[in-house]
Symmetry: C2
Subunit: 211 residues, 2 copies
DNA sequence: ACTCCAATCCCTGAAAATAGTGATTTCACA
DNA sequence: TGTGAAATCACTATTTTCAGGGATTGGAGT
């Protein structure tokens, strides 16, 4: 029997998965969480074999939760889940300890296959994800681990910018110099491969760095 | 027996709902669609009583599909569904002919309640949605119907801007004057209540006007 | 101990965006 | 057939962004 925890910020999605897994022999949904913090709390109380972990969640996202979980519970399997095909999140989840990754546009059979494969100790990613990983690996074996990950400060600045603050306003809000904000801004443009603020926010959304 | 069609661009979500509704007496899922066009096609072949319609879909979104459906099939009930609480989409769906609206963070019981209420001929929106509608109605009874809907041209400009094009580049791409693009830009800022480009793109995402 | 990197700060000039006005044409629809 | 909204174009002045160089500090990891 595989004890499963489902973590997603949309209750209806959880309820759907629960119903779907209810009549699958060998799988039992033992808990559900709406964010990363809840996942950690629930895992302390309940024995969980596998977590179906949405990447984008409020409070604490899937990547953070995965990092903590995989350190604490060596045997626990984590299956990453997201809406869009995004190298950044995918590789981040896998590096954090997830051994599987699916997109939400895959179907039931794929999910079941993933669950069983993960439980047997192997890893599993859906076809598109696999293709993406292979591509980026072969094209760019060195830069593969670098990625365009943002620092804490950069994330804060990005958030301010997306909310309409100008460079000066960001500087005031974060108690730093205007010049510093400009540097962060430049680095953000570089890391997210954007020409200007509009594309920056756009790309940030596509990569799930906002919301 | 209520014949239900589920429209959502995430197969896993559809599969979840299907499983959830499978053991509910009186409800039968007869079809599923990944975008608005598929909904229209399927409705021609299969008799459908109620559509669970995600607002954000590729090809043709939920609003467009709802408009067509509600004209063509007077008796068909449409239940709008989205992730975020957004007045623009909600009122748009309801004006287009949907008689119900739920957020994806509501649970199974709410969904069932909505389906049955809609089928009985009444309308149903979840509590948060109701609150939002009441608020905007009382605060702004006149502007209620106006809303910040974008024109075709404005959407094009918005799209260009989000993709990093400058005003001049947009002008060249759309074969119009720089000044015109500036006007559209100003109107976009006004309609989306944004102070600058960054907030514009941000708000556009929140409202689902992009992607 | 050394190195890398995040975070901080600085300067300049050109390019772009924004605010505040104004106007004309076209086209649907009431 | 008139009205209103969308789409088009125009000008000015100020603010903001962007690209291009720099530099220093402190901390984490090897």
């Amino acid at each position: 029997m595989i004890n499963v925890l489902i973590a997603d910020d949309h209750q209806l999605f959880i309820d759907g998965l629960k119903a779907m897994l209810l009549d699958v022999p060998g799988i039992r949904v033992v808990a559900e969480a709406g964010n990363g913090k809840e996942v950690l709390q629930l895992c302390e109380k309940t024995p969980v074999d596998l977590v179906i972990m949405d990447v984008n969640m409020p409070e604490m996202d899937g990547v953070e939760a995965t990092k903590t979980l995989s350190k604490k519970y060596q045997d626990m399997k984590i299956l990453g889940l997201s809406m869009h095909l995004d190298r950044y999140y995918i590789s981040d989840m896998l590096k954090s300890g997830a051994t599987g990754y699916l997109l939400k546009n895959t179907g039931k059979s794929d999910l079941l296959h993933a669950i069983h494969t993960l439980h047997s100790g192997e890893s599993y990613v859906s076809e598109e994800v696999n293709k993406l990983l292979l591509n980026s690996f072969f094209k760019n074996p060195s830069k593969y681990q670098v990625e365009e990950k943002l620092s804490e400060r950069e994330s804060q600045v990005l958030d301010c910018i997306a909310n309409g603050l100008t460079t000066l306003e960001v500087a005031e809000k974060l108690f730093i110099s205007k010049n510093t904000v400009e540097t962060h801004r430049k680095n953000l443009l570089y890391k997210l491969k954007a020409k200007n603020t509009a594309e920056l926010v756009n790309n940030a959304y596509k990569k799930g760095l906002i919301n």
